[in-house]
Symmetry: C2
Subunit: 769 residues, 2 copies
Amino acid sequence: MKDYIEVDEWKIIEEGFNPHHNKVSESIFSLGNGRMGQRANFEEAYSGETLQGNYIAGVYYPDKTRVGWWKNGYPEYFAKVLNAANWVGIDIHIENEQLDLAKCEVITFRRELNMQAGYLKRNFTAKTASGKIVEVEAIRFCSMVDDEAGAIKYTITPLNFSESLTITPFIDGDVVNKDSNYDEKFWDEIKKESWNDGGFLQMRTKKTGFEVATGMLISVLQNNAPVKLNTQAVTKEKYIAAKFKLQTTEGQSITIIKYAANLSSQNYAAADLLIKLKETLVRISKKGFEAMLQEQAAAWAEKWKMNDIIIEGDVSAQQAIRFNIFQLNQTYTGEDDRLNIGPKGFTGEKYGGSTYWDTEAYCVPFYLSTADQKVTKNLLLYRYKQLGKAIENAKLLGFNNGAALYPMVTMDGTECHNEWEITFEEIHRNGAIAYAIFNYVRYTADEAYLADYGLEVLIAIARFWSQRVNWSADKQQYVMLGVTGPNEYENNVNNNWYTSTLATWCMKYTMEVVAMVKTADSAKYAALVAKISFKEAEETARFKDIVAKMYYPYDGKQQVFLQQDGYLDKEQILVKDLPAVDRPINQKWSWDRILRSCYIKQADVLQGIYFFEDQYDLETIRRNFDFYEPRTVHESSLSPCVHAILAAKLGDEARAYEFYLRTARLDLDDYNNDTEDGCHITSMAGTWMSVIEGFGGMRVIDGKLSFQPFLPAKWQSFSFHIGFRGTILNIKVSKNGVQIKNLSGTETSVLVYDKEQTVKANDELLVEA
Amino acid sequence: MKDYIEVDEWKIIEEGFNPHHNKVSESIFSLGNGRMGQRANFEEAYSGETLQGNYIAGVYYPDKTRVGWWKNGYPEYFAKVLNAANWVGIDIHIENEQLDLAKCEVITFRRELNMQAGYLKRNFTAKTASGKIVEVEAIRFCSMVDDEAGAIKYTITPLNFSESLTITPFIDGDVVNKDSNYDEKFWDEIKKESWNDGGFLQMRTKKTGFEVATGMLISVLQNNAPVKLNTQAVTKEKYIAAKFKLQTTEGQSITIIKYAANLSSQNYAAADLLIKLKETLVRISKKGFEAMLQEQAAAWAEKWKMNDIIIEGDVSAQQAIRFNIFQLNQTYTGEDDRLNIGPKGFTGEKYGGSTYWDTEAYCVPFYLSTADQKVTKNLLLYRYKQLGKAIENAKLLGFNNGAALYPMVTMDGTECHNEWEITFEEIHRNGAIAYAIFNYVRYTADEAYLADYGLEVLIAIARFWSQRVNWSADKQQYVMLGVTGPNEYENNVNNNWYTSTLATWCMKYTMEVVAMVKTADSAKYAALVAKISFKEAEETARFKDIVAKMYYPYDGKQQVFLQQDGYLDKEQILVKDLPAVDRPINQKWSWDRILRSCYIKQADVLQGIYFFEDQYDLETIRRNFDFYEPRTVHESSLSPCVHAILAAKLGDEARAYEFYLRTARLDLDDYNNDTEDGCHITSMAGTWMSVIEGFGGMRVIDGKLSFQPFLPAKWQSFSFHIGFRGTILNIKVSKNGVQIKNLSGTETSVLVYDKEQTVKANDELLVEA
């Protein structure tokens, strides 16, 4: 837990330089535009603690798996997002002395992430070992408009000397992944050029063969007047630079503008990369830094219009929720259905930058409400395109007839995780992928998606479940053995209630969609049946039989769903009665002790109740919440949001707010001492859910938005934007009541506290408190 | 499965050279004397496939653990037996051409392990690339009399040339472990010397700081006449050699005798190693090769007198059982209570050469019957001495009050395994250690052991169990959650019948021993109580309560003990109905599929029934055998012996023989295609058990040996030696009946088919068939 970030409504601010915070700040102040991103590393050299990181979405490397004990079925490779060429570097020498904040007296230092306008600004004054004082301002961004481009404006002013500066803007492709299994380097150099005003480097990933061309163009101003460049080309292996020397005058600034672009063979023929790169560099440099920066601000303004949340009366909460929304938008823009949302986004490389079920369970609701529906559709298409690999994956595990098991972690559709209890057993992820389809269609009413793509995925998933259960002669019911639920503090359990519930729901929903598509588009249905050899009568008969005869563990005495068979055999000491010295248990206890305990890492039964809320009456929800909440340690950042939403549903406003607080400033305050590895991007969507579905009580009911808001006691008001089926609404919850603004040109109606309210186009109304 | 070893009663013979068999043969023809051992690598250079291996018992290295995903509680280090200096090497150059069978035409080749006399002999004739033909005979052994010494007699005869030979006997310490986690070398050189007639190398292991001095003395004969040596010293890093050149004459042999010794700082002050090494080398060289070889044969004759099994009518079985007995005796001689029995002995480095519960469960019965009781006592003392570390290990996992959890795998008492489902959960090993104490005392009547050592271990183990169970409020019984039984095809199950049964047995037996020791030696008892703060009343009350209220899964319908909770929920397809293409399942199925299946890797419930046979009536045993046997895939080499013994008990002679066959020639026929990694030493004890406890039906009943023998249909007779409480018996089972010879000077009585038979000193009697 740290507390050094200054509170501001629109900015993230670090004032003063503390080298021990640097890796945390590098994560927090990260930049991204969905296509590429980077940690907030310094432009000039820095020999202190740092994790250098530049990443390009979708460019990965299948690192050879490393395990202690191999188990059959483990994937041979673990795809990880690649640390790519560093394009931010500008090396500065004052005479022969390198500017390096680790070796300077840092007199002033300020780092500022402007979330409203989408850029990072850093200002410092520093005195070198030899006593030279310089003032620096560096502004940079990854363009949301030209998503292959970024730009830096780096201004340095000598404050107490007039000597020559040697300035070396460079591109360095000689990078490593921190988590490389065998300390290998993953890039080969293909070509490079150094020009008078820049240069480029084209690299190819080993094995996967992605080619990425990274280039820069530079222009320099002295005392605000253009300088005619006379650079010296520097090339090393996987490195190019344009080095130049300038005589400086005390008090007169030198500004280096560095235009950079990253083009990948995902989007161009490898042979065309150089020419396209040059075009991009010329285009953006012609546009100019200031124009790019303005475009950037305009693009962000547009984003905020769709998805800002305004909190009055709590600047810290305001900053935090905007930070979450900002990072989610930096991570994924929905332009490209080959991309997805890594748990660390572009802010670090932990977890390999790959796709988890977090996307479907936590991020989809965020993008559904805050972005055009095509964004979520692209997330769905990402999985649709990987269906073949999910079927292959299931085949490797012994399934057949087109059954699909989506991977626990993936980049391109192949499984990338290798703990047997998760890789092979945490199969509920498969259900989340079906649930996301359901959620998308419920929200958007885009039923065409089902016929075009959704049903094919649903049948493959339903086929998996139908093979994964087995008939228990003993119970005379279907059972699901050997699974790990969302609560990863249980491994290899039998009949996890959540997984079994989700599995039968998948089969039911699949049958519903079969019926729908058959009616709506019989030609497409027939084509699909032929494509995947779907034996409707026979297969749905099996689905129906399983749905009818599935076993779900239940405790009749306490009338709660049981997380799994045998859960009540555990010692039932509540979390509140655990000594503080034992927490967090994942740091204090050995793994077996955690497994034997009744403690729950993240919502499990409650995740199911959250998903299928409308199937349970309030008393059932309350009983299960009251049973499971006191046993939940929330040692996953994905846990509190579900509890917040359910507490709100149950009218427990104080607890709902308490759960929200646990993740609201997770990274800004480095709550778990791990932000240096990167920000918890997918958890940020969970915080958003706590506000919108928790405090706002938002649901989709029969094709309408419904709200059951309450105002957290500490806040004066909160308001949020929601996009829904072509309309944009602004909902403001204050002591006066719930104000609904319709920002669209068509009338719409919503439910507020279960009562229908119709709001005319571009009008508003207040439902009084 | 291979079939190239020639059948012989006393010898293991490989005739003709097949390079693809070489690594397998290197394992099979391994030599050892309990203190040191080695694979059957060639003396001269060999550039073909080989696993070079020389090992010194108890000299290990804690290699840094390598896992994919770290779990709390994993040990940081994995101790492994070290590949040590190679002392067998004799490099031969004919002029400038190195003798290397991989580069020769091998005209004749024979490798022979003489199990009766305890040496390895290799003869070959080979033609080099340049056409030189040589004949070689190499005889070598690790001395059972001087267990720090070995010797080689290497005779080379030029058959078609008279040129100079350059001969370089050497010691090479620049060795690696095949399974090193980070490709490190584990030895540092300390000192070395090269003498005219030999030299030595002293090395120290990194971290553990073991020092080992390896030295050689050589003498040379030409045409059987001594040669005055004029050697050239060769030293390199971690290498010394004495190189010499001799002019040869076609048809005249040159014999190099290499006396070698390995002394370790386990047994001497490091500073004294050199002087002691020189003493040893001088002593053995004075004794001379032939005298050493005679002593070796005499020592083995003595061993065979105690433990030979003679099978008439089946030479293949005869060879196999002797091979097993031979390897067990090469691996462990019981001289040193710091040593134990690695699953590969000195024949390879897989499994790190460490100690498993195999020792207590499978090897103890072998050594009890075939060696002096001090041998087994030393195996017990090994664990006694490691009690402190077992208590520490349990503490790491959250246990207290002196509870001990012995490690799954260990060298010096610290845990060396890192799969959570085994390291933390396969805790039944703790019970096997208690069972071995019981077994030892039952066999030897050495009750003093209990007061001196046994009870302290038993209380620590009972304390562990009493903390490892928990009260299930739901069941109103004690349960044991999150365990892995001997059947490792189930992980993290609840209430494994075997583990729970063993746990309560441990508590009961501990209470019995408490009562015994208290009566027999109240002073020792009082001292122990004080030493370990044993609160007898309170702690035994807890033990009693658990024993009284323990839950064991049971199926009332089929009247069988259930392997664990939920076992009957599995799909019950029997092994015989599994398609051949699916076997072995550990190669064909993914891990989760194995876990979900009903298939049993090795005896689990049946292991418990084997241990506590006298607690169950024959019908109970039959029901459980008939239920579990058809579900057992025997994919552990430790499995068939228990089934063989139980089948014999149930009168199913054909099946008993069938189970015995599965492991009898496991390594000789390379049954599982893995003998190249080393021989399955601990399984060999299981094969011995199949014969003695299975076919011989041997048990200890009320302090007497009891036999219920039958003769396998293929055999004419089998006979075996058994040592029991100071007497040696020879039991011969033939068509005539059971002949009992008493080879000792005191009368003894045994039970044969439940009837007491008294055999006078040095007399015999026949119980007719």
